[in-house]
Amino acid sequence: MADKPTFREEIAGLLHASMGNPLDMCMQCGTCSATCPVASGGFMDNSPRRIIAMINAGLKERVLKSNTYWYCASCYHCTVRCPRGIDIAELMYGLKRYTVWHAKTQEDLIGPVFSETFVKMIVRTGRSFEPVLATSYLFTLGLPEMIQEAQTATTLMLKGRLPLLPARIKRLDNFKRVLKRIIPLGDPDA
């Protein structure tokens, strides 16, 4: 009977395509966290270093409850500075995917909904269209923020910078067939 992979092993598996060194090599120096513009600004509940320590210690629930990876700005500064050669930014992507696929994303985060909306839109048309994305976060904002956002959007529209009509790729049918061969997405129009 095969053993179920530990959380640590699962996460290591997520990084198979990354060319960085294994998470086990982390020496907990804290370079990543102090370099990270978001962590060092105090916007993450756990620093990237702490997340790695928690993964290595198998503290799955605490990792899943953390907002760290959804607040990663994908700037890759941690990755280029890590003295042990670990690709931390890729780890953050991996953790996001893990929570999305296990449907364990936290309710109060905008990131998961935003990303899913984005992908659904691409799958449907092949191109992005900002106004659709707005629906994924607009209603999480308070009233003053919503008004501000509307103002910014209006100004941009008046300057001709806001797309009013969604774009589509031409070979959309082929495109959808390509996607079906990769991943069973169900009916994207459902």
Partner: protein
């Protein structure tokens, strides 16, 4: 001159139209031929890789395979598009099994990825392929006295592509100097603007934007030059919000490097999309107008 498959990316249609216009105009002046990548699809920004890796690679690979069909290297003006496509190509070359799997899917659109088309960033093309001398040769209105803060942002340099030194880049400064302007040293030129977070963590993003604007302003920059539409939108379109949030009074124009190059080439500002900014670029244009060579 070399010909490239041009990958505008979703934002250059409308949001960053001025980047597109100024890129086309300046490259035309420099005799570089562009052929738009046929029927390109969205590169995925950061979102694809948040949801599924295989899907993300496939969507990028479709663009790369299309470029191969056109027998051209891809040039992307947006750092996000550039990074996604560059990484996809590198990964698929590194993992032939993954490439096979994706090629099976791409068959449905009569495409195949083998990795023969390289991926370049627009600024790379200016700086390496075209070269400073060629750029200098076309400058008719050197932007003398204009203090420009070159904003590299994140994804042009990072992650490392090939052992290069990512902390000591100076090609952007060289380009600014080539068009006669004065490149300005400021501490945060390589740091993140929070572009990916403007929706998902607005507080963090605004804080990062504020820090950047402050750094450029402290160095007495007249304008920030960017090479990525997300950076430009973040730094420019949300300045008002930053001022509201932090009680600051920034009024820093943020232009694309191609717009500055275009001004130095004597091209009319309207053709370069100048006038569509939320923070007026008038002070910058005055500089260009008042000093013909």
């Amino acid at each position: 001159m070399k010909k490239y498959a041009y990958f505008p990316g979703c934002s250059l249609e409308k949001m960053a139209r001025s980047y597109h216009d100024s890129a086309i105009e300046t490259l035309r002046r420099l005799d570089v031929e562009l052929e738009e990548l046929e029927d390109w699809n969205c590169c995925g920004a950061t979102a694809y890789f948040h949801v599924d890796e295989l899907l993300a690679y496939t969507l990028c690979a479709r663009n790369l395979a299309q470029a191969e069909k056109q027998h051209l290297d891809v040039v992307a003006p947006c750092s996000g598009c550039y990074k996604n496509m560059f990484s996809t190509r590198a990964h698929l070359q590194h993992e032939p099994d993954l490439a096979d799997h994706i090629n099976y899917a791409l068959e449905a659109d009569n495409l195949k990825f083998t990795g023969t088309s390289a991926v370049r960033h627009l600024i790379e093309v200016f700086v390496q392929d075209i070269g400073m001398d060629a750029v200098k040769a076309k400058v008719t209105h050197p932007l003398r006295g204009l203090r420009v803060a070159p904003y590299y942002g994140c994804q042009i340099l990072r992650p490392r592509k090939d052992q290069e030194d990512v902390e000591q880049a100076h090609f952007f400064e060289d380009l600014i100097a080539a068009i006669g302007a004065t490149p300005v040293e400021y501490e945060l030129k390589l740091r993140c603007c929070g572009g990916a977070l403007i929706i998902t963590n607005r507080k963090a993003a605004l804080s990062l934007v504020r820090n950047l604007l402050q750094s450029a302003a402290a160095a007495k920059a007249d304008v920030i030059a960017t090479a990525c539409p997300l950076c430009q939108v973040n730094l420019e379109c949300y300045q008002k919000l930053v001022n509201q949030e932090f009680g600051t009074s920034f009024n820093m124009p943020v232009l694309y490097f191609t717009q500055l190059v275009g001004l130095a080439f004597g091209l009319p500002p309207k053709k370069l999309g100048i006038g569509t900014e939320l923070v007026s670029a008038e002070p910058v244009i005055c500089h260009a107008r008042s000093k013909p060579s």
